[in-house]
Amino acid sequence: MIEYALYFAFACFGLGLLMNIYRVISAPAVGDRILALDTMVVNAIALLALYGIHKGTTVYFEASMIIAMTGFISTVSYTRFLLRGDIIE
């Protein structure tokens, strides 16, 4: 039963990732593009966690932790760059 639920969640998050890629390609404004990239990071973390359950190993959690940190820093630096024209003042 867990296996089928896992496949369902894989499909949902994979579809979400495709929607985010579509939004990154055809965004009406640059803010939406940043938002879509941030959502892609979150979806990638969820996919990595699900893959960890599928394989039965905890190795992937370090990777998802690093992706979470990188995603946060990149989103903040993108928005800072747009707001101030500079990342470190």
């Binding site: 039963m1 639920a5 949902c12 404004a29 940043i34 969820a46 370090e62 946060f72 989103t75 928005t79």
Partner: protein, 132 residues
């Protein structure tokens, strides 16, 4: 058996929330509305997936791991911050200060006030308070 149902429910609910969050990003009409879907629904979705993973590793495989809790905590802490920054970017790129509703005071909205202006007003207030 019960724990299987619990883990499966967590996985299915998290999948639905993640899908709704990503779908809202392309469906909702206004930039400020679009901010809601990923910052709320997708964060809840990934939290559900990580909780399902924690339950699975503890009850099915028998080893407890804190990593999922750390990732969940980190995401729940950072999602409002990124949402705030993206909202501010939208505001500064899309709207002029004249389009916004009035603040009710002489000062503009805090996001639009220049640093020099704010420092001048705060210095005035600092000199006024001891007298009163």
């Amino acid at each position: 058996m019960l724990i299987d149902i619990l883990i499966s429910a967590c996985l299915v609910i998290s999948g639905i929330f993640g899908l709704v969050g990503s779908f809202g990003l392309i469906k909702l009409p206004d930039p400020m509305m679009r901010l809601h879907a990923p910052t709320k629904a997708t964060t809840l979705g990934v939290g559900g997936a990580l909780i399902a993973s924690m339950l699975y590793f503890y009850f099915v495989l028998g080893n407890f791991s804190f990593h999922e809790l750390m990732i969940t905590l980190f995401l729940f802490l950072t999602a409002p911050i990124t949402g705030h920054f993206i909202a501010k970017t939208h505001l500064h790129l899309m709207h002029k200060p004249a389009d916004l509703p009035p603040t009710g005071t002489e000062r503009p909205w805090a996001s639009y006030e220049s640093d020099a202006e704010r420092q001048r007003i705060e210095a005035e207030q600092a000199t006024e308070t001891p007298r009163a």
